[in-house]
C-alpha cells in the first residue's frame, strides 16, 4: 500500500503488534498506538510534556534527534535508557518502515 508502512510495537506484556501506519496523515507514533488501542496514554496530547508515551526504539532508523523539550521531559521520566524516546515526537514517514519499538514501563 502506498503511504503505509509497518511498525512493530511490543507492549508491556511482550506481545508484538505489527501496525499498518499511514505516512500521509501527519500522525505521530503516539497517535498511531492510541488509534490501535494500545496502552499508551498520551496524556498531554503530544506536546512532549508528559512521558506517558515513552518507548524504546529497538531498530536503527533515521529518526530526527530529540528536541530540547523532549530531552527535558525524558529527564524527569523513569526507566529511561539510551534508546528512550517519546512516541509523540516521532512523526511517521516512509523512512520508518520496519521500525520496532517497545513500550516503556509506566511511571507512577
Amino acid at each position: 500500500m502506498e503511504n503505509t508502512i509497518k511498525i512493530t510495537v511490543i507492549d508491556r506484556e511482550e506481545v508484538e503488534h505489527v501496525l499498518d501506519a499511514p505516512t500521509d496523515m501527519a500522525m505521530n507514533l503516539m497517535e498511531l498506538c492510541k488509534a490501535y488501542d494500545l496502552p499508551v496514554k498520551g496524556t498531554c496530547g503530544g506536546m512532549a510534556l508528559c512521558a506517558s508515551c515513552h518507548v524504546y526504539v529497538r531498530t536503527d532508523q533515521d529518526i530526527p534527534e530529540p528536541s530540547e523539550d523532549e530531552l527535558n521531559m525524558l529527564d524527569s521520566a523513569f526507566f529511561v535508557q539510551a534508546n528512550s524516546r517519546l512516541a509523540c515526537q516521532i512523526k511517521l514517514n516512509n523512512s520508518l518502515d520496519g521500525m520496532v519499538v517497545k513500550l516503556a514501563e509506566e511511571g507512577e
Binding site: 496524556t43 498531554c44 510534556l49 529527564d75 523513569f78 526507566f79 514501563e105 511511571g107 507512577e108
Partner: protein
C-alpha cells in the same frame, strides 16, 4: 461565590465545581447568567489547570474568535470574564469524600477538612488531580511521610538534617538552593549531567557544589530506600561508578506532577478508561445532581478540546438549574440583549 456559613464552618453554594481549568472557570460564567452561585475547588494552588501547570506559554489555535492565544492568557481572560459572578475558591486542596445530605444537597469534604455544601456538583477535573510523580523505587510507599516527602511543606522540618533531593528541574534546583543553608548536609542527585532548570538557578547550584555547601551527584539515581519506621539511608546507583549508600534523614524526590483520577474514582460514578461516563443530553453522570464536563468525561464521539468543554459546561448549567430549582422557570437569554448582571460578592476565600 461560595458563602461561608459561620455556624457550621461550611461553604455553601449552588454549584461546586471541582477543577479550576478553563472548562470549570467557564462554567461559572454560564451558571452566573442563570444566577447560580459557584465555588471552585482545585488541588493546584493556582487556577487554570493544565493550562497554567503544563503549558502556560504554549499557543492554542482552536479557541473560536482567537486565531492564536497563549494558554496562560486564556486563563487570565476567563478569570476576567467570570469576575462579575464572584466565584469562591478553595485552592491547593483535594476533594476527598462526597455525601448526600437529607435536604438533597451534596457535602464534599476536602483533604484539609474543608466542607462544601452544594445543590449540584460539576466535575471539571480535566486529566484528574495533579499529584507528584513517584520514582519507581521498591517499597518507597512504606516510608512516605516517614522521611520520604514529595513536597516541601514546611522547610523548618529540614533544619539540621541530612537531606537528599532528587531531580533536575526547577523545583529540585530551587529547593536545593533554599535548603542548602539550613540542612546539616544536602545532596542533589540527578540522572544526567545537564540541568534543565533556569540558568540562574543552575549556576547557583553549581556554585554551592563548588564551595562544598552541597554535594552534587550526577549520572546517578536513587534505587533503594532503607529504614524501619523512618528513613535512614538511600542506595544511590551511579552510571559508571557503581552503587553506594548514603545516610539520609529526608529524601525529597522532585519529578514533577502527574494527573490521577484520585478519590473521585471512588464516588460511585460510571467510569470508562479513567474518564467519567456522561449522558450527552446534559453531561450528567449516573448520579443525579453530579455532572462531568471537559476532559474528564467520556461519551461516544468525545473530543478532548477546550471548545467542546465550553459547550458541555453551557448545557450542563441549564440542566443543573432545573435540578437545583425545579420550581423556577428558566428563560434562555442572549448576553447581547440582556448584558451581564453580576452577583454581589459575599464570598469567603479559603
Amino acid at each position: 461565590m461560595g458563602e461561608l456559613n459561620a455556624h457550621t464552618n461550611t461553604i455553601e453554594t449552588d454549584i461546586l465545581i471541582i477543577g479550576a481549568g478553563p472548562v470549570g472557570l467557564f462554567a461559572v460564567f454560564e451558571a452566573g447568567l442563570l444566577k447560580m452561585r459557584c465555588h471552585i475547588l482545585d488541588v493546584l494552588p493556582q487556577v487554570g489547570g493544565q493550562l497554567s501547570e503544563i503549558y502556560p506559554k504554549k499557543p492554542i489555535y482552536d479557541i473560536p474568535g482567537y486565531p492564536s492565544i497563549l494558554a496562560g492568557e486564556l486563563v487570565d481572560n476567563l478569570m476576567k470574564q467570570i469576575q462579575p459572578f464572584q466565584p469562591g475558591f478553595t485552592l491547593g486542596d483535594r476533594a476527598e469524600t462526597v455525601e448526600k445530605q437529607t435536604d438533597g444537597r451534596w457535602l464534599v469534604v476536602t483533604q484539609r477538612g474543608i466542607r462544601h455544601l452544594s445543590s449540584v456538583i460539576f466535575i471539571a477535573g480535566g486529566l484528574g488531580s495533579f499529584e507528584p510523580r513517584k520514582p519507581p523505587i521498591p517499597n518507597i510507599e512504606r516510608l512516605e511521610d516517614h522521611g520520604v516527602d514529595y513536597f516541601v511543606r514546611n522547610p523548618e522540618l529540614y533544619r539540621g538534617k541530612n537531606i537528599v533531593i532528587a531531580g533536575g528541574g526547577d523545583s529540585a534546583l530551587d529547593w536545593t538552593i533554599y535548603l542548602a543553608d539550613m540542612a546539616q548536609s544536602l545532596t542533589l542527585i540527578h540522572r544526567r549531567t545537564e540541568f534543565r532548570g533556569v540558568l540562574d538557578s543552575v549556576e547557583k547550584v553549581m556554585e554551592l557544589a563548588h564551595s562544598g555547601k552541597i554535594r552534587l551527584v550526577t549520572n546517578a539515581q536513587v534505587t533503594a530506600v532503607h529504614g524501619e519506621s523512618h528513613l535512614d539511608a538511600l542506595t544511590v546507583q551511579h552510571d559508571t561508578e557503581g552503587a553506594f549508600q548514603l545516610p539520609t534523614d529526608h529524601f525529597i524526590p522532585l519529578f514533577g506532577l502527574t494527573p490521577k483520577l484520585g478519590p473521585i474514582g471512588e464516588w460511585g460514578l460510571g467510569v470508562d478508561k479513567g474518564a467519567i461516563t456522561v449522558d450527552t443530553l446534559d453531561y450528567s453522570t449516573n448520579v443525579p445532581g453530579i455532572y462531568a464536563i471537559g476532559d474528564i468525561n467520556t461519551y461516544p464521539g468525545k473530543l478532548k478540546l477546550i471548545l467542546c468543554g465550553f459547550h458541555e459546561a453551557t448545557l450542563a448549567c441549564q440542566s443543573a438549574f432545573k435540578f437545583a430549582f425545579p420550581d423556577k422557570k428558566l428563560s434562555f437569554k442572549y448576553t447581547t440583549v440582556t448584558g451581564i448582571e453580576g452577583i454581589p460578592a459575599t464570598s469567603e476565600k479559603v
